[in-house]
Amino acid sequence: MRQITYCDAINEAMLQEMERDPQIFVYGLGVPDHKRIFGSTKGLVEIFGKDRCFDMPLSEDAMSGFGLGAAINGMKPVYIHIRADFLLLCMNQLANMISSYRYSSNGMLKAPMVIRVIMGRGWGQGHQHSKSLYSMFSHIPGLKVVLPTTPYDAKGLLISAIRDEDPVLVFEHRWLYWQTGEVPEKSYTIPFGQPNVLRTGKDITIVATSWMNVESVKAADILEKRGISVEIIDPRTIAPFNVEPIINSVNKTGHCIVADNDWVEYGFSAEAAALIYSKCMGNLKSPIARIGFAFTPCPTARHLENAFYPNAINIIRCIEEKLDLSPTDLTGEDFYSHENRFKGPF
């Protein structure tokens, strides 16, 4: 099948959906400028014009309410932020208005809007340009939260998000933009609440979100050489979060690691662990482990950044501990860094 990048998959979803539904419009800081949100909005302003693809003043909060207003009046706004950190300026509209408009109108009004968000990382982005934050939004009833990992997911989940009748936040990891994968040309959707099994295995289950799937696959590849078989499940949407396939997997393997692209404390990994415990207690051979960012603001110097972000090595060491294995010799293994990005298909 055709291989395209994650970025092009997003772009194609936008193009096809805007073609299909004239009520869709896309806006946000820099959306029509020459950089085109890392390329993900290219072609849109040329094809659909400035009425349906536009820039805005630095007025994130107001433009969130603006999207809501347009949505309850029948339009389909897609609002883009190049950093998740900027979502915090929209918090009032998101948490007090957008999330609850349907409920507080008792269903007479709906807010079918999409908020596309890019999570930054690397090259000294620092504490104000690198947050993930998706767990915060999952905590709020009324907001759907989607985390595409593969190019296939990026297209299918974005189309589902656009067609959804409720507000959906789509969090895209900056490092995933470069990877390629099989993506059908025709339009398709991926239902929310359908985890993707990236790899089947029998010894241990990893639940991974976003970029951490890439690290998990790397860890699994390395351990496979020692005969360890790792099952990797990507929930793809964390609100709604369908834990059933994960429970089945953990009941089979008896071990579970939640590798989240975020801080561990009070986040998705805690929610996942609690749900898994509630159904797998008797079958667990070791406590559920959680892997995530160091619980500090993100520093800028590379060596501190490396200490901040978990990677495949942390996952490998954690698996070794659970399965009582001697440390794997990692000499000669290549790991991902800002310079050495993941590009190929899974």
Binding site: D55, A294, T296, T300, R302, H303, F308
Partner: protein, 317 residues
């Protein structure tokens, strides 16, 4: 030493430091996104010259100039760009988040407009303490799109807080011109409706900026109303990074050339010469600064990184 020379030294230090960044950045050792100050030197040097050492400034992610003008500490500057142990921040901040409170540089933020209300609170604390410290908050034209800017203006005027707002207006927020972001034509005209002192200028004559700022400070001392300074300038380089971007199509190179012909740094040098300064003397000062920059960057390159445990130090617990 004379004012004109002091101003020139500040600007020369800033310009040369950034030229040094341009030279070394491609080595990929300064791993921090650079929002360059080139073009805005006169604003920052002029305003900082009118402040005392204890006065306080707040900046944005585009604060190389402000940091150097307020602290003069090019050693700490490069140590932080390289993320080394010898930097006060030890690599926790990088180019976008600098801090040197002992010299009145109270921080810079990469969330647009977010330090404006913080500066306001700092100025309020100074007012309450009766310490006569002035607070100056620097921001771009894009920051004035944000609600928090207008709220802060209103509060400052309402509470008669001694603060200087400095809008460094380069007409662009990243690549978006003011005409595509504003539903009004003149920012200073609107600000003038607030109970504050509004002064403005075109920002390449550093002595004029210094005089304008002094005038603002005197007015503020007299009438207790905040000062709003509006200065136009031209951003020489791309929004972030060390290159020109005139081929991107959103602005014209001709415009740059117009501004370059009144470049603040060369303009001040010519001013000094036409006011009878000895060129040799100027060159000596320039050589001293060149040497200081060179030593600083070499020291930064040779310094060690901090230990990884530093990651966990100074987190609020």
């Amino acid at each position: 030493m004379c004012l004109g020379i002091e101003l020139y030294k500040k600007m020369y230090l800033i310009r040369k430091t950034e030229e040094t960044i341009i030279k070394y950045y491609p080595e990929d050792e300064m791993k921090t996104p650079m929002h360059m100050s080139m073009g805005e030197e006169a604003i920052v040097a002029g305003v900082c010259q009118s402040l005392s050492h204890d006065d306080q400034v707040f900046g944005t992610y585009r604060s190389h100039a402000l940091f150097l003008a307020k602290t003069g500490d090019v050693c700490d500057f490069f140590a932080e760009m390289y993320g080394k142990d010898t930097a006060r921040l030890k690599g926790k901040g990088g180019s976008m988040h600098m801090c040197a409170p002992m010299s009145g540089f109270m921080g810079s933020s990469a969330i647009v407009a977010s330090s404006i209300p913080v500066a306001l609170g700092a100025a309020y604390a100074n007012k309450r303490a009766g310490n006569n410290k002035i607070v100056a908050t620097f921001f771009g034209d894009g920051a004035t799109d944000e609600g928090v800017f207008w709220e802060s203006m209103n509060i400052a005027c309402l509470m008669k807080i001694p603060i200087i707002f400095i809008c460094e207006d380069n007409e662009f927020a990243v690549h978006t011109p003011g005409t595509e972001r504003r539903g009004y034509s003149s920012l200073p005209d609107i600000i003038a409706k607030f109970n504050c002192n509004v002064l403005k200028g075109v920002a390449t004559d550093v002595e004029e900026i210094y005089q304008t700022t002094m005038e603002g400070i005197n007015l503020m001392r007299k009438n207790q109303m905040p000062v709003f300074l509006h200065f136009k300038y031209y951003r020489y380089l791309e929004h972030v990074g060390i290159f020109e971007d005139f081929d991107a199509g959103y602005r014209e190179k001709e415009e740059f050339l117009k501004w370059q012909s009144i470049d603040p740094v060369s303009r001040q040098r010519s001013n000094l010469l036409s006011n009878g300064y000895d060129e040799k003397e100027i060159e000596n000062l320039e050589n001293e600064i060149d040497l200081m920059i060179k030593t600083s960057i070499m020291k930064a390159k040779l310094s060690p990184f901090c230990d990884a445990e530093e990651l966990f130090r100074e987190v609020c617990r």
